[in-house]
């Protein structure tokens, strides 16, 4: 039960003024610009766009500044903002096969056509603090080589040719949208993927890791991980044809998983899929592993009771804004609730004390 209590107004105003001063920090240190966050804290910006479920680097950078670097708070700001936008429509599905890849690796095929392209990665760095970054230096320049002009084919295509891997069902069915209709379970794969791509990176990482440690083990290989830009095309009603309206950086992960086969289907590899806004590869890999674990039913696998197989558990707890909203609300005034609990505990203690006294007599 909640009862409106007045009297906090001045305290709240002053708390927000204190927050603003703390956000700025030491005025002797130059103020951080939104453009600096966008350009130099890019991976934080990407995470806020992915989990905020709105691709707009400037707004994500602004949200990070406003939230003092608290990324879940920044995601909350973006989620709130997006509810104010009118929906113009849906894009055509992005063609990741036409991605201009800046990074593209496969853990399964060394000599994949298109090559192993490392891109701007933390992999193979020594994870030693670089004290040179303490000082302002010249902007580094990356070396170049003759650029690839052809499209980079998806690696699963090669396995497809031999029937060694399941084929994705072709369809153009309009997918369900959890931002329009409340999510209902059981969810189909389209709804699960929408929920996972905007889900909390840490939560998905933990679940994906649990599948690797043996909870719903399905032994995933990263068939392909690619990061790059894709054009977004949208049907414009006034024009009567589709035009490109922009360009996004995306991370795509396709896993190749063991599948023993069933009575009707021969043994072949199955797939898990991750696609996330921005350069967000940890999230994309985790998404692919969790997607694959959640597919146990359609693949006729056993329910081992693992958390990553439990659709209700995964989908209802993956959203960090829902989670933080419910978690953090318990710090807000619950005086009346607590008062009644207090009364109850006092009564219980009193009756227990009476019972003790009676027993002693």
């Amino acid at each position: 039960m909640y009862v409106a209590v007045k009297g906090g107004e001045r305290a709240i105003d002053n708390a927000h003024a204190f927050l603003a001063e703390e956000r700025r920090g030491d005025p002797a240190v130059p103020e951080l610009s939104v453009a600096q966050i966008r350009e130099q804290m890019t991976l934080a910006v990407n995470r806020v766009m992915a989990e905020g479920s709105l691709y707009d680097p400037d707004l994500a950078a602004l949200a990070i500044k406003q939230a003092r670097g608290d990324l879940i708070e920044a995601i909350f700001l973006i989620r709130a903002y997006r509810t104010t936008l009118p929906r113009f429509g849906a894009s055509r599905p992005v063609d990741t096969g036409a991605m201009a890849c800046e990074r593209r690796i496969s853990a399964t095929f060394k000599d994949a056509p298109g090559g192993q392209v490392l891109g701007p990665t933390f992999d193979y760095t020594h994870r030693l603090l670089d004290f040179k970054l303490l000082a302002e230096g010249e902007a580094p320049v990356a070396p170049t080589a003759a650029p690839r002009r052809e499209l980079t084919p998806h690696i699963t295509e090669f396995l497809n040719k031999d029937g060694m891997i399941e084929v994705e069902v072709q369809s153009d069915v309009t997918p369900p949208d959890l931002t329009r209709e409340p999510m209902e379970l059981p969810a189909d794969r389209a709804l699960r993927l929408q929920s996972l791509t905007r889900g909390d990176e840490g939560f998905l990482l933990g679940l994906a890791y649990s599948t690797q440690r043996g909870y719903a083990r399905n032994h995933a290989f990263v068939g392909e991980l690619r990061i790059g830009t894709c054009s977004v095309e949208m049907e414009i009603p006034e024009l009567g044809f589709a035009v490109e309206i922009g360009e996004l950086t995306l991370t795509e992960c396709e896993t190749v998983n063991q599948f023993k086969g069933t009575k009707t289907e021969p043994a072949q590899f199955t797939r898990g899929y991750g696609l996330v806004f921005g350069q967000t590869e940890r999230k994309a890999i985790a998404m692919a592993l969790v997607d694959r674990a959640l597919r146990w039913k359609e693949l006729g696998e056993d329910d081992s009771g693992a958390p990553a197989q439990d659709e209700e558990f995964v989908l209802m707890h993956a959203d960090n804004i829902q989670a933080t909203g419910f978690l953090e609300h318990i710090k807000l005034p619950h005086y009346v609730d607590f008062q009644s609990e207090l009364e109850l505990v006092r009564k219980l203690r009193a009756s227990a004390a009476d019972a003790l006294r009676e027993a002693a007599e």
Partner: protein
């Protein structure tokens, strides 16, 4: 001479203009022709879709900000701008150029605006691709010392 009313042509310039950095387009074209505003610039969201496994059934990936605007020139041509982001001037500029591209000024606009934009976009893409290419792994096998 290309036909400015050809939809494939129009699709091409609208995509090029939408993807151009707003500041680059503003620097290339400062026109302010008379026009009637059919739809004032407004910002909204477009739900971006992906496909399962890259090739399968569609799913909703998340939204992107988009700004749109529609204009009509006194000579009757209607132009539309749909651009990524929240830059209203950019959307209006794209709508105006789209309308002008359907009139007698098309060749001039193509040379002064579209071609430089296409060149800049190609250069940028090539520059990123060249940096990526330098990170391509060239495997070589070490000869083993046995036999």
């Amino acid at each position: 001479m290309t036909d400015p009313t050809d939809p494939t042509e129009r699709k091409g310039w609208l995509g090029l203009l939408a993807k151009a950095p707003p500041a680059t387009l503003a620097a290339l074209w400062e026109g302010a022709p008379d026009h009637e505003v059919l739809r004032a610039p407004e910002t909204g969201a477009v739900m971006v879709q992906g496909r399962m496994g890259g090739t399968g059934a569609p799913f909703n990936l998340g939204e992107m900000t988009v700004t749109r605007c529609s204009v009509r020139l006194p000579s009757g041509e209607v132009g539309h701008g749909y651009v990524q982001g929240r830059d209203k001037d950019h959307a209006r500029r794209v709508a105006l150029i789209d309308a002008l591209m359907q009139g007698p000024g098309a060749a001039d606009l193509r040379a002064r605006v579209l071609e430089p934009l296409a060149l800049a976009a190609a250069r940028k893409a090539e520059d990123r691709a060249a940096k990526a290419a330098a990170t391509r792994v060239e495997f070589f096998t070490l000869v083993r010392g046995e036999d």
